[in-house]
């Protein structure tokens, strides 16, 4: 329900500029928004539960400061005003811990997890679960600018499923490899500009583009079509839409679009003609692509 | 492999070797014709497809299933074919339109999946070289196995005796060594006899193996000349005293068209006929594996032997002239005996403590399996390859020796260990050679030896089974009786069973089988290099 089969959006303000976006995100209807909200709420509560578990375990451990000592730090508000964040965190945690849920967590922590090891394992598992939950939608886009080049972008967080185009372009949308980690780093270093938009972009100038072609390769138990950019002087092909690998219909549409948009009309005629060939000439270098898999 | 089949496989070739000589892979479909220049011109071999075969009218059209043994059919069939080939071209041209021909290069007016009832599967033959065994030869052959099993049993009995301290190891090894010495003396005497004959027969060999000389000059003369005559004569002698069951069995085991074979063999020059027997590789592979892989084995083994040739000085040593030869042989034998003796002497203290930590049961199991390996992989084919080439089946011998070593390591005292190991060497290392040679020498010795062994084994088992305090000889006699009964039953029963199994045999041969090449000159460029 949350996702659909990958489908294609095309934004083409001028004939020389086009952006092809393949996303698994259905148009944001109200139920979908609700569902997303539920998912995020679940993730938040999960995180909170983890923190409370750790904290409860800590309170049970001898190295605990002591509740009254933390209360002595003062009310969270005052700490917030004072800007003393560590103790603020401590006091807030203490408050939460005092609450019913906190008590439950603490009991669970003390009873279920006698050792730190088990605790660490559990925490790791839960963190991973939250991160895995994080990737609801995958959106990958291909931006074609005549005279400049091609830019592939793939982003797979639940926030910016439709934000690829209109994310506010302030400075330094951070570009970090690696999924959720990318998002965290993006939070910290991205200047908040991209709004936690873990977007992995790759720009290829036109004169380095040797060819854009459709190729087939084995993947798991099937043979898939994929769009690939041959970059001059690189030994790895650049696969467009590497995660979604949309079906042939979409790939061909994008391929024709790229051919038509990237090059001047004289060569674009060749592109339109070379439909079969574009698929045909793929045979050359399946190897490196296979290694990509 | 299961015992009966093993017995069957190893029993057949054993008879070929000792018996009438013939070209090596003598039973190949493609080579039942003599290797003779005169006969080669016309096609006496019906199993080959030739282009002409497509034109002539086949003698008896066959169907799937309706076959008699191809062997007898071949004789009659070859004649009309030969006549029909005179004018094949004209007739075939006239028939090309209507007749279906089993050829690929002619465009014929038949669909591709047309199956010509006449020519389809005409070359298939069933069980072409199955020869019916008859009872007594099989029994006679099975004596070899009985001998070996009995010797193994005797060894085990000795061990148990030593282990239970009912027999003193010294006496055992003493008697053993004494017997070995006697055997060696006998053997040596035989050897000298044969070599005298060999020198006498050298002249014949000259005439016989002219081509060998032409190809490989004078220095190799002795080597290439030496082998054949001894064997040539021995073959003659054996086939002359063919009233003995052995020869009878061997002749019975021959191919069906012996009438064709015999003149070939003696008409053929001596070198060729006897080389195939002389070739130790073939001997090995015969015994080791089925007829099919004979040449492959040989070709694989050939280089190894050739490279082994340099290492063992023995081979080159034997090629010197006769008078000093015997002395050198004795010297080397004594040397190796001393070597082994001292090695054992040095190693036995270590052997004593070798498997102390291992539990006895595992040792028993291990030695049992090793002895089983020994029995199964023993080279029963009495293939006779010359006096000084002692064909030792490495695997079986080694297995037996390892078993004896392991067993010996269970014994408490060094003396026992030493004596048992020495005894095992005599039983498993030297005794088989003696047995084989005795059998090759004369059938009488063979039978006597067998009887002795059976009696000894039975008696030993009986004594071991019986308890100490009662008089052991009673048990011994009982055991001998039982042993004789059992062995007789086994030999008779197994042979009978094997004969019974014959009717299930169904081999299919046809032109698709990989041909087995007849290669004559291999021995020359194999052995001497």
């Amino acid at each position: 329900m949350l996702t659909t089969a990958p489908h294609l959006y095309i934004r083409r303000p001028s004939p020389t500029t086009a952006e092809f976006t393949v996303t698994t995100c259905p148009p944001l209807t109200l139920p979908l928004r609700l569902a997303l909200a539920c998912v995020h709420a679940a993730r938040l509560s999960l995180l909170l539960a983890i923190i409370l578990l750790l904290y409860g375990r800590w309170t049970a451990s001898p190295s605990f400061l002591g509740a009254e000592h933390i209360r002595a730090l003062g009310s969270p508000v005052s700490l917030l005003l004072a800007g003393d964040f560590p103790s603020l965190v401590l006091s807030v945690l203490q408050l939460l811990h005092a609450s019913a849920a906190g008590q439950v967590c603490a009991r669970a922590a003390t009873h279920l997890l006698p050792s730190w090891w088990g605790l660490a394992v559990l925490a790791g598992a839960l963190l991973y679960a939250t991160r895995a939950l994080g990737r609801i939608h995958t959106t990958e886009s291909l931006l074609v600018l005549r005279g400049l080049g091609i830019q592939t972008a793939s982003s797979y967080s639940s926030y910016n499923a439709n934000a690829t185009g209109s994310s506010s372009g302030s400075s330094g949308g951070s570009c970090v490899v690696g999924g959720g980690g990318g998002r965290w780093w993006g939070r910290i270093f991205g200047g908040g500009g991209a709004g936690g938009n873990a977007k992995e972009t790759r720009f290829i100038p036109t004169e380095k583009i040797q060819d854009v072609l459709i190729n087939e390769a084995f993947r798991g138990f099937e043979v898939r079509y994929y769009l690939v950019v041959v970059v001059e002087g690189e030994e790895e092909l650049v696969v467009v839409f590497p995660r979604l690998l949309p079906r042939r219909r979409i790939v061909e549409a994008v391929w024709r679009g790229v051919r038509g948009c990237l090059y001047e009309p004289d060569s674009s005629g060749v592109a339109a003609a070379g439909g079969g060939m574009g698929i045909g000439i793929g045979g050359g270098d399946v190897k490196s692509v296979d290694e990509k898999r | 492999m299961a015992p009966p089949s093993g017995l069957h496989q190893s029993a057949i070739p054993s008879d070929f070797e000792t018996s009438v000589p013939q070209p090596q892979p003598g039973l190949v479909r493609s080579s039942t014709a003599p290797v003779n220049g005169a006969l080669r011109s016309h096609r006496s071999d019906p199993y080959h497809l030739a282009p002409e075969d497509a034109f002539v009218l086949p003698y008896s059209p066959r169907r799937l299933g309706g076959f008699e043994s191809g062997g007898n059919g071949s004789g009659h069939e070859s004649r009309p074919r030969r006549m029909g080939r005179k004018d094949d071209t004209s007739r075939s041209r006239s028939r090309r339109q209507k007749r279906f021909q089993k050829l690929l290069w002619v465009k014929q007016s038949y669909p591709d999946n047309y199956t010509d009832q006449a020519t389809f599967l005409e070359n298939l033959q069933r069980n072409p070289r199955v020869q019916p065994y008859d009872f007594w030869p099989l029994v006679a052959d099975s004596t070899v196995i009985v001998q070996h099993v009995c010797s193994v049993i005797i060894f085990v009995v000795c061990f148990v005796g030593i282990f239970q301290e009912r027999v003193s190891p010294v006496s055992i090894v003493g008697w053993g060594s004494f017997a070995t010495f006697l055997g060696w003396l006998l053997w040596d005497w035989w050897v000298t006899q044969e070599e005298d004959q060999g020198d006498a027969a050298d002249g014949i060999a000259r005439k016989g193996s002219m081509r060998a000389f032409r190809e490989f000059g004078p220095p190799r003369r002795q080597s290439s000349g030496l082998g054949h005559p001894t064997l040539g004569t021995s073959n003659v002698s054996i086939s002359s005293m063919s009233n003995f069951p052995s020869a009878a069995s061997s002749s019975s085991n021959l191919v069906q068209d012996q009438h064709l074979q015999r003149p070939v063999i003696f008409g053929h020059y001596n070198g060729v006929s006897s080389t195939s027997l002389l070739n130790p590789d073939h001997a090995f592979s015969r015994s080791a594996s089925s007829l099919h892989s004979a040449t492959s084995q040989a070709s694989a083994a050939a280089p190894a032997r050739s490279s082994a040739g340099e290492e063992i000085p023995g081979t080159s040593r034997y090629r010197t002239t006769s008078p000093t030869r015997g002395g050198r042989v004795r010297l080397s034998t004594i040397k190796s005996a001393i070597l082994i003796y001292s090695t054992l002497l040095g190693l036995s203290p270590i052997l004593k403590s070798l498997t102390r930590s291992t539990s006895s049961d595992s040792i028993w199991a291990m030695s049992f399996w090793l002895l089983a390996i020994n029995i199964f992989f023993f080279d029963y084919s009495g293939s006779w390859v010359g006096v000084h080439k002692i064909p030792v089946a490495s695997l079986s011998t080694n297995a037996a020796l390892m078993a004896s070593t392991v067993l010996a390591s269970r014994l408490p005292s060094t003396g026992q260990v030493f004596s048992l190991t020495l005894f095992s060497i005599e039983v498993f290392g030297l005794f088989p050679v003696f047995r084989r040679y005795a059998r090759h020498r004369s059938w009488r010795y063979h039978v006597a030896l067998t009887v002795l062994l059976v009696l000894g084994a039975g008696g030993g088992v009986g004594m071991i089974m019986g308890d100490e305090r009662s008089w052991p000889w009673k048990n011994g006699l009982l055991g001998m009786l039982v042993g004789c009964l059992i062995s007789a039953l086994a030999m008779g029963g197994c042979s009978w069973w094997l004969i019974g199994l014959q009717k299930y045999k169904n081999e299919i041969y046809g032109p698709w089988d990989p041909a087995r090449p007849i290669i004559i000159s291999r021995r020359h460029w194999d052995d001497d290099q």
Binding site: P13, S14, P15, T16, L145, G147, L148, G165, S166, S167, G169, S171, G172, S174, C175, V176, F189, T201, F203, P205, T206, E207, D211, E235, Y263, E264, S267, M277, I281, G283, G284, D285, S288 | P280, F284, A300, A301, A304, R305, S307, G314, L347, L351, S353, L354, R356, S357, T358, I390, P391, V392, S394, L395, T397, N398, L401, M402, T405, S409, G429
Partner: protein, 715 residues
Amino acid sequence: MPEHDGLMRVFWPTDLPRSDLRGVVVGWKNSAFDVFALAILEEVESRNVESALKIGTLLRNASHPVSRIYELCGQSSMYILGLANTPDSVEVDPSWIHVATGTGSQVPSVTCASASSIQVVLFERPLPGRMQYISLNPIALALGDKHGIHRLDFPDSGEEDDEREERRKKETKRQLVEKLKQHSIVKRVPSAKEKALAKIVNQINWAWELEKLLQKNVSRIGTRPKRSLSVSERVVESATTMRDMMMMWMWDLVIVYILPVIKRIFVLGLMCHRVTAEMMLLILEWRARPKYAALKDISATAQQVEIRLQQFCYWPMQYVTLRLRKNDWESVTTSHPDYIRFYNSLWLVANDVIIGIALGSYIIDNATWVADEISNLLTTYTVEALQSSISWLMGWPAGLKLNTELAAFLGDLFLWVIDYWSSCIEALRPALPHIIWVIGFSSFAGASMPIALFSDLLSILTIHIYSFYLASARIYHWQLNILISLFHLFRGKKHNVLRNRIDSCDYDLDQLLVGTILFTLLFFLLPTVVVFYLNFAIARMAIISIKAVFDTMLSCLNHFPLFALMLRVKDPGRLPGGIRFELRDTQELRLAAHDPPKGHHSTSVIYLQSIPLNFRAMFHQYFQMGNRIRKHYLSPRVVLCLLTGKFVPPLNRKNLYSLQYSMLPARRAGVMEMWDAVNSLPATMRRAAPASLPVLPNGRKLPSIYSGGRARGYG
């Protein structure tokens, strides 16, 4: 123009001052229909601007030679690109653009008469003062000139086969790529626009400085009513000039008299330090034969010292290069990586020393305690644990079927050696606190030094385990080989060396007998040897892993990209990792632009951003090193060696440290080169002195930038 397809491309800085005043857009014209806007000169006549551009008044009193601008921007001159905020009534050259930069809209609406479609590429000008810049490919934090030497250096190391295998893979891949080249349908020549990209990047880097320059010279253009100054203003002006005179005089005084003396002394100090360093380096790198290992390959300490010395030798050169960039435009971005590298190594050494001081003081304070700890560890783990394990092996352990006599023999042998060794350790124990103290003291040269010393100490104190390992491995290997060949004999076969295959062979009887007995013997003795071998092999592996940990710590201390990380947090603009484009929604632009879009005009607004270097690229070399270690120790080869009792070689130090050399040049500059470089410096200073005068007013003009740049630069 052949590739004219009516596409007009306009590069437009977003942070140009916006106003509704009429103005002339000045900038580069990379090709027809490919323009780069530098500045809007307001309230000037276009033809005046044109003439000014011709005679170059607009670039008057530039701080540095103007020609450099043209050469780096790849254009011969600037042009008028169009008009800003003019009513369409004004008739102009059709190739000019009309720009409407209302204060309301953040995106200017650009229209051109003769262009069918327009790409507006908005970008944000990097501030050269802050050493921000953009580049197409990521900034290189490591020196690039390694690989050729890397190959030559150790053709005989353990990595060799892996590397060859890697190279082979690369080669095959390259051939595949070559094959792929033949597959491309049509080879099109890139149009001028596409070739221009590199130039445009440079122009973007220059945009800020040039705009400032132009704006400064706008006043010189045209017939602007030049009103005379009032008295008060004159007084103020004269006063300011007076103060400037004073400062300049004092500045000259300092430069002429004091500075040279200090510099000379400093240079002399540098040189003698350099000479001593050279000698030490020679000692460290001396090897008897090219095959043999040098001192620095054997001990971690020597390695550490060598690295430090190399760094000390490299710094002056780096500094000189960095100084040279002072007398050029700030937009020249070639030397920024050098800058980062230089300060990175400085920072690292500083951190190292800081941590080292803390560590060293701690160690020195309780040297005795540390010494006791270490000796306890030694006795418990390298002596007692070994003894207990051996004695455990001597009585049949875990139901293993060991041969008692052999086990006893081997065990006694090893135990005896261990006893001897432990007595040696005992003898060494009283001296241990002093050693520790020395180590602690050494850590004032940086925390990496004691770590290296510790790792050396470890390898010295566990030398007996090493020798045990060697001995048992030899025995085991030898016995295994004999067993294999005897097994061939057992099967009646033998290994044919000539054809490298197993041939069947008939042995003589005596050969068989002796061989079989020996086979049985060795076969039953094997388990005993195996357990002993495994015991020592495990110990050896543990020590190797500990040393690997030490080495990793060292490399972290030596080459952690600290400065780069700081920059990444503070100002990502200084670590460019490439560029990215973003397609803006144009309808909002339409709304913003008040004029209704002309029918045939389709405008697409693209936003160009510089993406900062990602962290993977920063730590790339650590990944490399991890790969090296993994490939060396977790490879099946090592497992095979362990199983067959071959000697497992430790990771070649050079391979491990190739990471560390990546910050240093392949060959260090000789003494004379350094002498020349250091002496060339004052001359440049002289030349730079007059040029540096206008820097002051300049600096006064934008204080924020300079203070910012300096402070961040050297702080």
